[in-house]
């Protein structure tokens, strides 16, 4: 009986290992290649730090450091813009009775589902008109606009769960709504705000397509464009250096996520619509 049972639990385990193995084969290469002279498949030869040394040499195509600074600017700027736009709107939609509230919520949900990438041509024209083409600020603003509908919905969910009595106490004492928002709601919604900030940072840091299309000049390149330029011609590419650059590039989001995984995942699930869907 015991043997039967262990066979029964072995099968699902093997299934899990089988479907997860490709992922390990895929990702295993990156750390190996970054620290090796040469890799064949997943077999490295010769441990070395040369790839990193070469990476930090100044090169014609702009340096890793400059690109990192711009990526950091984009990620931080975008995260702050997102908070500044989403928090007041979410609070208002959660708390204030106002005309057209439902229509706004419906519009935001539809915008979240709407495939933004079909609008690139129009966005390009708008950015040109506003003089924001080829500027980091333009990319940050566009990215914020695409993500703000979801952010409002998620934060509204957090505000909805804050007991109204806390706020009422502020109002009864003669405080304003603004005071209640700042003193009661924001601190109470802190886990949600932190999670939103983390997701926004990672997403801004990773963003490739918007800078690729809207930041044509090399002086404006962010990290993904820099890494891309190292790979662009695959015939002459030094995979060791590219792997080293990639490792430097993926480290911040992965570390950030790993550090806060448990509580981030709950929020991620909320934001992804599990809650919205029930």
């Amino acid at each position: 009986m015991d043997r039967l049972r262990s066979a029964g639990s072995l099968l699902p385990l093997m299934a899990l290992v089988a479907i997860t193995t490709p992922l390990i084969l895929l990702y295993g290469w990156l750390p190996l290649a970054a620290f090796a002279d040469e890799v064949r498949g997943l077999r490295p030869s010769g441990l070395t730090l040369d790839n990193f040394r070469e990476l930090f040499q100044p090169v014609a195509g702009g340096s890793l450091a400059e690109a990192s600074v711009r990526s950091l600017l984009l990620a931080c700027g975008y995260s702050l813009l997102l908070l500044a736009a989403a928090l007041p709107a979410a609070y208002a939609l959660s708390r204030l009775p106002m005309p057209g509230r439902r229509a706004v919520l419906a519009a935001l949900l539809a915008l979240h589902a709407f495939p933004f990438l079909s609008l690139l041509v129009g966005v390009y024209q708008v950015l040109r008109e506003l003089g924001l083409y080829n500027s980091l600020l333009g990319v940050a603003l566009v990215k914020t606009a695409t993500e703000v509908p979801l952010a409002v919905w998620v934060m509204k969910g957090f505000f909805d769960r804050i007991p109204w009595e806390l706020e009422a106490a502020v109002l009864v004492d003669g405080g304003t709504r603004w005071l209640a928002f700042r003193r009661v709601c924001l601190p109470q919604a802190r886990p949600g705000i932190l999670a939103l900030l983390t997701f926004a940072f990672v997403s801004g840091w990773n963003e490739f397509l918007l800078p690729y299309i809207f930041l044509p000049s090399q002086q404006q390149w962010t990290l993904p464009l820099f890494v891309r330029s190292l790979i662009a011609d695959y015939r002459f590419v030094d995979y060791g250096v590219v792997a080293a650059a990639s490792l430097v590039y993926v480290a911040p989001p992965l570390l950030l996520f790993w550090a806060g995984q448990k509580y981030l995942l709950q929020t991620y699930a909320l934001s992804g619509g599990v809650r919205a869907a029930r």
Partner: protein, 293 residues
């Protein structure tokens, strides 16, 4: 308090949508710069006459359908079930691994696939192929669709797994215990208790991923850029992008590109309105808690 939000959504989402539709009725391109004219529906007529159109339509289906069905539904359901209904302890680690594709920047992610499928003796796939006695080959060039769908698909798997795991974890303990008391096997538990309970997240992922996939072209751009053969992996959204933004595809044909994109805009609009109908919006919106202003 809605102002900051509207100040972003109006100029960067609503205006571009109208602009795209408007541009699609002009002949704007590098050649006609400063001298753009209204051409009515000419761009649409031109689109219909293009010999590559059927190819691009078929490509779009080849990209979206297996991606959605296999990688955004079947595989994540399997991973979620295998890490919650079964193997709970090992499952935690496996789930973290499955987060990776979604968290990896697309530039790095595409590089991982270029390496996986690289020529012998370097590529990992070819190393494995050698072990089991298969001919080595350049997988990306010889089987571009297989590579693209698998690569892009795993990102969808990564996204959907998190949602399905969270939904499966939220199944009330009483339901699970009641089923177990009745002697249900894990399979029966999965089929008759867990799956019916998570039908809403499943529906959400289907609808949302369908729309995203229709418009997404980032990974194709990075892996094959529509090649290696002429139009071989060009999807609808990539086609719009190439026509409007690429100097090589005929010199920034913004008007024509906008017409191709408008088809997507309309499809997206219809589908996202359906999406709203699908979910019980009235319950979601609720009433505001406060009557005091």
């Amino acid at each position: 308090m809605l102002l900051p939000c509207l100040a972003l959504v109006v100029p960067f989402l609503l205006v571009p949508a109208l602009m795209t539709v408007h541009l699609s009725t002009t002949n704007m391109s590098l050649a006609t710069l400063g001298n753009t004219q209204f051409v009515g529906l000419d761009n649409y007529a031109r689109l219909l006459e293009r010999p590559e159109l059927p190819r691009i339509a078929v490509n779009t289906v080849v990209f979206v359908v297996p991606n959605l069905v296999l990688f955004s539904l079947a595989l994540p359901l399997a991973v979620a079930a295998l890490t919650t209904v079964w193997n709970r302890s090992v499952g935690r680690f496996a789930r973290l691994l499955w987060l990776l594709p979604r968290l990896t920047p697309s530039v790095v992610y595409s590089l991982l696939w270029v390496w996986l499928t690289a020529d012998a003796p370097f590529g990992t796939l070819n190393q494995l192929a050698e072990v089991i006695g298969l001919q080595p080959r350049n997988w990306l060039l010889e089987h571009p669709w297989l590579t693209i769908v698998a690569a892009d698909g795993l990102i969808g798997t990564s996204f959907a797994t998190v949602l399905f795991v969270a939904a499966m974890e939220a199944v009330p303990r009483e339901l699970v215990m009641a089923a177990q008391v009745d002697g249900a096997s894990r399979w029966q538990l999965l089929l008759h208790v867990v799956l019916p309970y998570i039908r809403w997240p499943v529906l959400f992922v289907s609808a949302y991923q369908f729309l995203s996939l229709l418009a997404s072209f980032e990974l194709i751009l990075l892996l094959t850029n529509g090649g290696p053969g002429l139009w071989q992996t060009e999807t609808w959204s990539l086609y719009a992008y190439h026509q409007a933004f690429s100097y090589y595809a005929g010199g920034l044909q913004i008007g024509y590109g906008a017409a191709i994109a408008t088809v997507l805009v309309l499809a997206g609009l219809v589908a996202s309105l359906l999406f709203l109908r699908l979910f019980d919006f009235r319950r979601l919106a609720g009433e505001p808690r406060l009557k005091v202003a």
